[in-house]
Amino acid sequence: MNHSATRERFALRLAPLLRQATIAAGVAAAVLIAGMFVAPERAWVSLWMGSFLLICLGLAGLFFVALQYASGAVWSIVLRRVGEAMSSALPAGAVGILLVLIAHPSLFPWYHHPVHTEGWAAFKHAWLSYPFFFARALIYIAVWLGFGWAIRRNSNRQDNESGPELSRRNTRLSVIFMVAFAFTFWLASTDWVMTLEPHWSSTIFGIYNFSGMFVAGVAALALVTIALRNVGPLRGTVTGAHFLDLGRLLVAFSTFWMYIWFSQYMLIWYTNFNEETAYMLLRSSHGWGKLFVLNVILNWGVPFLLLLPRANKKNPHTLAAGAVILLAGRIVDVYLLIAAPFSPQSPVPSVWDFAALVLVAGVFITLTFRTFFSSEPVPLGDPLLPESVHSHA
């Protein structure tokens, strides 16, 4: 068919990039494996950060798709396949997460030294027992993979049997997913990140992680969309109106991230409890202080001002610049979240961290573009597709 012929032509144009990404991922994986023997105390932390970044990118793709279904958005239908393609990073991220949990659970301080905190001691003890912890991880991942699989399957089926029925079914699935997602992602970020410092707790932590996960996800989605428009498959379908809306999402969720960041910071600063301030003190003093400030500048300050004017949201160059800055900010944020307790004095950036980042980028690019080219570039069977193509700014 004509469609698949053009699709192959576009895939060919991207083939060198994909090959490079795959090779880079392979080399980075080899370096990381070497690191597990040379410097296990650092390399496993790097892998953990990378896996968390990757699974969050995949989740953000799935969440984006679900959000558009649940809200009945029309403008974003042309971007649905990009979100779906991104969600293919989910299983890869899950592999990394499970690998660390199985092979190196001692990353978590409570693994060897059970937590005894007054008041909640019994609950914390039970919650942070390894079998329960591992079973929970399996449940979160199963829920995400299950919904991702079902939503993508319905969406692809719609290409052949057009009509609103499959859209309706996916809307229902998306609404259920978002409820399940709220609980599972909140618990997962608590389990996987917060319990690295088991004596510290914050009730807003899940939302904080969600905000960072989603704004970085939309940034990645914008970059993939711009790349696909430049190479071909989305040229003509994705216009300034879609970029404008993506830019609006970026500004909105970057500000949301800042809002949640500040809510957490201010309450800890105000109450001034020893067990709570330790977390912020560690990250805002010594060598970590610069990253602490950089985090806020990259995740909100610069992208907010850059993408505030309407023209900059509409222009793919400035939008891409904002997205790149936000992704850099995401890396700094995750580094502060996860790596800080492992080297409290100051950050120790290592070759393993770099390898983990290259691995994440390589795997993400490879999986996203390969998945994208395995189906139609836009959901052809969605009855509202023409309206989405002709979105107005």
Binding site: F262, Y265, M266, Y270, L308, P309, R310, A393
Partner: protein
């Protein structure tokens, strides 16, 4: 000064959009378009410049932010220092929420008033409806005679292509 205008009254937004686009392309001066609700893409079809209101909003936000920050530092450090929970006088985190609210208030109110001034809206202003139904189910495009070769028939045929409910010619005295 009096002027001659032509009204094209349409039943739906797509006709209005097409007629607007074609009028602009054939060089007819567009006075305004009246619709019961905001029609996406109409500003583009009319060739309107992007609104400068966001700059008013941004400027007002900066002013509100600066004034509030100055006031908080002045009040808590210079004019009336009070020890609250052992916090330093210059407790920026404590100032942020109020500063944020004042910034939003200043930006919001200024933008609304700037909008009212720009559109010459005020309380008790009597609305002038160019045609009945524009607050209900009609879309009106107003074109103005802008050269000596004004040909009503040409305008009429241009508008007729887009299935108007009516095309009216009017003389306005001001």
């Amino acid at each position: 000064m009096s002027r001659r205008v032509v009204l094209g009254i349409f039943e739906n937004e797509s006709s209005l959009l097409k007629a607007t686009r074609e009028s602009r392309q054939s060089g007819v001066k567009i006075v305004d378009a009246y619709t019961p609700y905001a029609v996406h893409g109409l500003d583009e079809a009319m060739g309107l410049r992007p609104s400068r209101l966001p700059w008013v909003c941004f400027g007002a936000a900066i002013v509100g932010l600066a004034l509030k920050l100055w006031f908080e530092y002045w009040a808590t450090m210079t004019d009336w220092p009070i020890n609250i929970g052992g916090k330093p006088w210059d407790s920026l985190p404590a100032f942020v929420p109020v500063t944020f609210e004042v910034m939003v208030l200043a930006a919001g109110l200024t933008t609304v008033f700037a909008f009212l001034v720009i559109s010459r809206l005020r309380p008790a202003k009597r609305p002038v409806l160019v045609a009945s139904g524009i607050t209900d189910n009609r879309f009106v495009l107003v074109l103005e005679e802008n050269d000596a070769h004004w040909d009503f028939r040409r305008i009429q045929t241009l508008l007729q292509k887009h299935e108007p409910v009516a095309v009216e010619e009017r003389f306005e005295g001001e």
